[in-house]
Symmetry: C2
Subunit: 213 residues, 2 copies
DNA sequence: TAGATTGTTAATCGATTAACAATC
DNA sequence: TAGATTGTTAATCGATTAACAATC
C-alpha cells in the first residue's frame, strides 16, 4: 500500500465527506459487517461509489480489487487521516441555550474531543459546572486555555460578541474555532474556522418550499 | 426592472449565500446605511463582489450602475426571493438538549418561522410548554400538523429514531425537513431536506489542525 | 463630464461522473 | 477461471473569477 500522497491538495468537499464515511463504517462495524463495497457504502450515505473511491484515492489505496474494503481497516485509515486517533482539548464560550446543549453533548469524548472548560460573562453561571466541566469567567480565558492546552474554541455567544471572543481565543493561543454565531470572524489565516450558520438552513428551505407550495 | 428569470436553474451555492446577503443588509440598514456596493457588501461577508453580482443577476437587476444597491430595496427583493415575507409554521420533534435549545431560539418568528408544536415520546414532557408552545405526544403528529398547517418539521431526535420521525412527518403532510440527526433520511423526492450535520464540522477541523500542529 | 459600479459574457478553475484497465 | 470491484484517467459538468461594455 502506498503512503499518503503528500503535496496533493485535497478538496474541502472530500474532507467533509470523510466524517460521513467514518461514521457509516462505524455503524456497519457495529452491525458485524466486515467487508463493504464502495457501492454499498455509497448507498448508505447517499453518495456515488465513484465519489467514494475518488475521495479515498487521494490518500492511498485502502481497498481490495474484486473484494471491497475491510471495514475495520478503512475505518482506522480514515480515522488517522482525520486525526481522530488524537485527543483534542476544546472549550465553549457562551452558555446560552445552544452552548448549554453543546456542553451536554455526550458524543464529543468518544470522538476524541475533550471539553476542558466553559466560559461566560454571567457571574451567576461562573463557578458552576456542566457535566463536571467548570464555567469560568472570560477574563480567565488566556490562563486556562494555556494551562489546559486547549486547541479548539467553540463560539456560542450572541453575534455582537462573537468577534471579541474570537480575538480572545486567538490571543489565548487557540488553533481552531467552531463558530455558531452568524458573523464572519476576522482572525489570522493560520486559525482554522469552521462556521455553522444555522439560519442559512431554514432560509434556503423557505426558498425551495416557496417555489413548490 | 426585469421580472424574475423563470426557468433558469439556480445553484444551491447561490441560494445558500442569499441569506447571508439578507442578514448583512439588515445589519447595514440598522446602522443607517442606505446604499451599498457589491464591493462593500462582499467585504462584510467574505465573498467577492463578482460573486454577489453574479448571484443577484440570476433573479433580476437590483442595483444602479455607478451607484450600488439601495439597501432597503435589495433586502426586500432578496426577502421575496427567499420567501421570507411569508409565514411558515414549523414543529420540532425531540426535546433533547438541542431540541430544547432550538425551541428556545427567539429568532425564528422575526424571520417568519412560527413554532407551532413540539413532539416527544417522553410522557414527563408531554403536556408541558416551552415558551408557550405545547409538547405533544408523537402519536398526535398527524392531527396537529394537519390542524395547524405545519409545513416544516425539525428533527432533533437521536439518530436511531430519525428515520421513523421523518416518515411520520411526511405522512402527516410536512413539505420540508430540517434534520439535525446524523443520518441520511429516506423521504420522497418532493420533500425538501436540509441536513445540519454538526459532527462533520469538528472532524474536518481535526483534519486541518492535524496537518498544522 | 469623469468616476464609479453594475450586469453579463467569456475564461478559468474545480469537482463530479463515466469509463475501463488492473487485479483480487 | 469468471465475476466483482477497485483505483485512476479522461470527459463532463458546474461554479467562480476576470474582463468589460453599459450606464448612472
Amino acid at each position: 500500500m502506498k503512503e499518503h500522497k503528500e503535496n496533493a491538495v485535497i478538496s474541502k468537499a472530500t474532507i467533509d465527506r470523510l466524517p460521513l464515511y467514518y461514521r457509516t463504517l462505524k455503524l456497519s462495524q457495529q452491525e458485524g459487517i466486515e467487508i463493504i463495497s464502495s457501492d454499498e457504502l455509497g448507498r448508505k450515505i447517499g453518495v456515488t461509489p465513484e465519489q467514494i473511491r475518488k475521495d479515498l484515492s487521494a490518500f492511498g489505496e485502502f481497498g481490495k480489487k474484486g473484494v471491497g474494503y475491510y471495514v475495520r481497516e478503512l475505518m482506522r485509515n480514515i480515522g488517522e487521516i482525520l486525526g481522530l486517533n488524537r485527543k483534542w482539548n476544546i472549550a465553549i464560550a457562551g452558555v446560552g441555550h445552544l452552548g448549554w446543549a453543546l456542553a451536554n453533548y455526550a458524543n464529543f469524548s468518544p470522538q476524541g474531543f475533550d471539553l476542558q472548560a466553559i466560559f461566560d460573562v454571567d457571574t451567576d453561571k461562573i463557578g458552576r459546572y456542566i457535566n463536571e466541566v467548570e464555567i469560568f469567567s472570560i477574563e480567565r480565558m488566556k490562563e486556562i486555555v494555556s494551562d489546559r492546552d486547549i486547541q479548539i474554541g467553540i463560539i456560542t455567544v450572541p453575534a455582537e460578541y462573537a468577534q471579541d471572543i474570537a480575538t480572545r481565543f486567538v490571543e489565548a493561543g487557540i488553533k481552531g474555532i467552531w463558530n455558531f454565531a452568524p458573523v464572519k470572524l476576522n482572525v489570522p489565516a493560520s486559525i482554522h474556522v469552521v462556521s455553522e450558520d444555522l439560519s442559512v438552513g431554514l432560509s434556503s428551505m423557505s426558498y425551495y418550499l416557496s417555489r413548490q407550495i
